[in-house]
């Protein structure tokens, strides 16, 4: 795909004359891409195909190679009872699954929304010229550099109802009247996860947006200033449209990441239906329960849902991954 882009860019640049040099470059590019393509096929393509295959079988972990093809039974099956009533079984009518889908989508929506707004603010601040800017830029990346498992553990102690620093601070400052079990109850558990995720990934968002901001030529702002355009109007009329391509790419990265959220939820919250996401549920079926095929079906559906989101987003948002839709 990427080679085609190069090739088409080349042919677009020089419609008729395909120089020897250009062809050579295209060939070289193909060779350079080959190792990556092979690696991707082995570590991503093959497992994906295997999962999809297993989702149509009755595989169990005790007897993986004795799996037999059962068609779409894991997704949907039905039988008619003696009374004439038809009952449906399978993933597509499993309330636990749709609950997990809803949890995931809700999580992805709120986390990406907050991360985008906060990331934009942070990026605007960092884009301004001030002393020690390099230091602040490095410092703000720290939450993102900490492995998620580590930060999840860290936060779970900070949020702990008895020994947690948040409860201690809240009580001392008089913000709380009693200790709150943040991760234990259904109402606050999802909020707690959101807070931690936003804390962790806002820097990533800020960094990508900052890169976009720095591409905007300074003379546009100078011209606007001379014309006396209000800074708020400048932001909405100049900054936002020009940073949009970078922003759209940043958002899609985050959405993909958020839709497969696993570690934070797994470490931080009790294993209850209120916070279970698609990945958590799929893992449970794959390894904890004796339902490898059912878990594979869930993984496959998770893949399809993420793929659908991405395609829809690129189509609706007219995202251009070449970085130039100006």
């Amino acid at each position: 795909m990427a080679t085609d882009t190069i090739a088409s860019a080349a042919s677009a640049g020089r419609p008729r004359i395909k120089s020897e040099l250009m062809q050579q470059r295209v060939r070289a590019a193909r060779w350079f891409l080959l190792p990556m393509m092979i690696a991707l096929a082995v570590v991503a393509g093959w497992p994906l195909l295997r999962s999809i295959y297993f989702s149509f079988t009755d595989a169990s972990l005790t007897d993986l190679y004795g799996a037999e093809w059962i068609g779409i039974g894991n997704y949907l099956s039905w039988r008619t009872l003696d009374s004439g009533r038809t009952i449906y079984r399978g993933l597509l009518v499993d309330p636990a699954w749709w609950n997990a889908v809803w949890n995931t989508v809700r999580f992805a929506f709120w986390s990406v929304l907050w991360e985008t707004v906060l990331g934009m603010i942070v990026a605007l601040v960092l884009n301004a010229e001030f002393r020690g800017r390099g230091l602040v830029r490095a410092a703000i990346l720290i939450p993102w550099a900490i492995p998620t498992i580590v930060s999840a553990r860290m936060w779970s102690w900070m949020l702990n109802d008895q020994f947690g620093i948040l409860n201690d601070l809240g009580l001392r400052l008089g913000l709380l009247s009693q200790k709150v079990a943040w991760t234990a109850t259904a109402e606050t558990a999802m909020t707690a996860v959101l807070v931690v995720d936003i804390w962790k990934t806002t820097p990533f968002m800020a960094l990508l947006i900052l890169a976009g901001l720095q591409m905007i030529p300074k003379d546009i702002y100078e011209a606007a200033e001379i014309d006396g355009v209000h800074p708020v109007k400048q932001f909405f009329k100049i900054t936002l449209p020009l940073v949009r391509p970078a922003l759209m790419v940043a958002i899609i990265f985050r959405v993909l990441d958020a839709l497969r959220i696993f570690d934070l939820i797994y470490v931080l919250t009790p294993n209850s239906a209120a916070t279970k996401t698609m990945s958590v549920l799929a893992r449970e079926n794959l390894f904890d329960f004796d339902k490898f095929a059912y878990g594979s079906a869930q993984s496959t559906l998770l893949f399809l849902i993420i793929a659908a989101f991405t395609i829809l987003y690129i189509w609706l948002g007219k995202v251009n991954f070449d970085g130039g839709d100006r």
Binding site: L61, T62, Q162, P270, S272, A273
Partner: protein, 422 residues
């Protein structure tokens, strides 16, 4: 002189090389950390010295469900790298196909162990794993507080709750705002299955799925037992208890902030450590009983075992290692150093063991009331049964429906899961 030393050295190295040519290189997994890992290593060193084999410890995450997932995968893939697995007491029926039958190898020693434990590791007449140590929880209580308010050690759950409430209120009035009455394991995980099984069983409500495979959980006594536990949350137990595992409850307890705690024996040795606020101020008793017909104290059976992978390239040496780790000699060391309960009955009367861990005498009584989780009748579906059960209980504890409503749904889910047979 010099030449002699050289010769001796040469000879030794020759014998060593010859010895190791026949000896096996074994691998064992361990989810233990710190002291526990060091202890295992010290025992393995002995084994190496005795047999000439070398044993490598492969470290694993400490969460048992993470371990289980990994072992499942390895065994499914026929992994020959691991020879000996350490298994939880409930895993035997789920992994039975992948382990060697130890009946023949252990026929001389099985009689030393508690029969119920050997039974829990026997699947269709095949001895899947040998017990290394056992576990049964107890009611930890603060001797100083009970004495101060002149209360007896509670024998029923209601008595426990009343005592806890009274002492908690009095202590809070006296200025200890962080005081609670009772902490247990209320997170939605395997530990809650253990806790709730005790409430249900001690109230005469059966054991979720009976030994013959019938689903018995939907009954009024079970519902009453779980409703009773739900009434503790936010009164004698903190709200946060809904997210506590063993370590969180021990944290509250060991800071001196709870009158009672339900926990496993490991907390005994730690609670008497030098940095503990409750050092010398607590003791253990059998868990309280409920009321109604068939009520009586119940403790969920835990414990760890050693199993030999059928994919091991050196099954004979691996079996020797399993036998060694479950032997009286190692179990005695374990009881003295790690305060783990032996599975060999005679060790409970051993003077050295009792001198090092005097509380073990108390545990014999607790252990006699031990009830197994329904892992044997539900076979490979046990994890899902357990998950459905703890979810129903966790919902009730969080005020999401009454126990009767949730147990009715649970019964329907379990019947669906069971199908024609487990």
């Amino acid at each position: 002189m010099k030449i002699n030393t050289l010769l001796v050295g040469l000879l030794t190295s020759v014998t060593l090389v010859m010895g190791s040519a026949q000896a096996a290189e074994l691998s064992i997994v361990s989810g233990d950390t710190g002291n526990g890992l060091a202890f295992l290593r010290s025992q393995l060193d002995k084994f190496e010295a005795e047999t000439g084999n070398t044993v490598t410890v492969v470290p694993m995450p400490s969460s048992t469900s993470d371990q289980f997932g990994q072992y499942r995968l390895w065994l499914a893939a026929g992994n020959a790298d691991i020879d000996v697995y350490q298994t939880d007491v409930i895993w035997a029926p789920q992994l039975a196909d992948q382990f060697l039958d130890l009946t023949e190898a252990a026929k001389d020693v099985v009689d030393q162990h508690f029969p119920s434990i050997i039974e829990s590791q026997t699947v269709d007449g095949k001895l899947v794993a040998l017990p290394a140590f056992t576990d049964a929880p107890a009611l930890f209580y603060r001797t100083d507080l009970l004495e101060k308010y002149s209360k007896p050690v509670p024998t029923t759950w209601d008595e426990m709750a009343a005592t806890a409430q009274e002492i908690m209120d009095a202590e809070r009035a006296a200025g200890n705002a962080d005081m609670y009455g009772f902490v247990f394991q209320g997170n939605a995980y395997e530990g809650l299955t253990c806790d709730a099984l005790e409430w249900v069983k001690s109230n005469g409500g059966g054991q979720i799925v009976e030994a013959d495979g019938t689903i018995s959980i939907n009954n009024p006594q079970a519902a009453a037992a779980i409703d009773r536990a739900a009434s503790w949350i936010g009164t004698i137990s903190p709200e946060g208890n809904l997210a506590y595992q063993e370590e969180e409850s021990r944290g509250v307890w060991q800071l001196g902030n709870s009158v009672f705690m339900r926990n496993w024996p490991y907390a005994y040795a730690l609670g008497n450590g030098d940095d503990s606020a409750v050092k010398g101020k607590f003791d253990v008793a059998p868990l309280p009983a409920g009321d109604g017909e068939g009520a009586g104290s119940a403790a969920t059976l835990g414990g760890w075992n050693v199993a030999v992978s059928k994919y091991s390239p050196d099954p004979e040496e691996a079996i020797k290692l399993a036998l060694f780790l479950s032997s009286a000699e190692v179990q005695k060391e374990r009881a003295i150093n790690q305060s783990n309960l032996p599975t060999i009955e005679a060790l409970y009367d051993d003077a050295d063991v009792l001198a090092a861990s005097p509380f073990m005498a108390n545990w014999k009584e607790i252990f006699q009331n031990a009830v197994p989780r329904p892992s044997a009748p539900t076979k490979v579906k046990y994890n899902e049964v357990s998950s459905l059960f703890w979810s129903a209980v966790h919902n009730t504890l969080s005020g999401n429906g009454t126990a009767a409503e949730n147990l009715e749904v649970l019964e329907a889910d379990l019947s669906d899961l069971k199908g024609d047979a487990w």
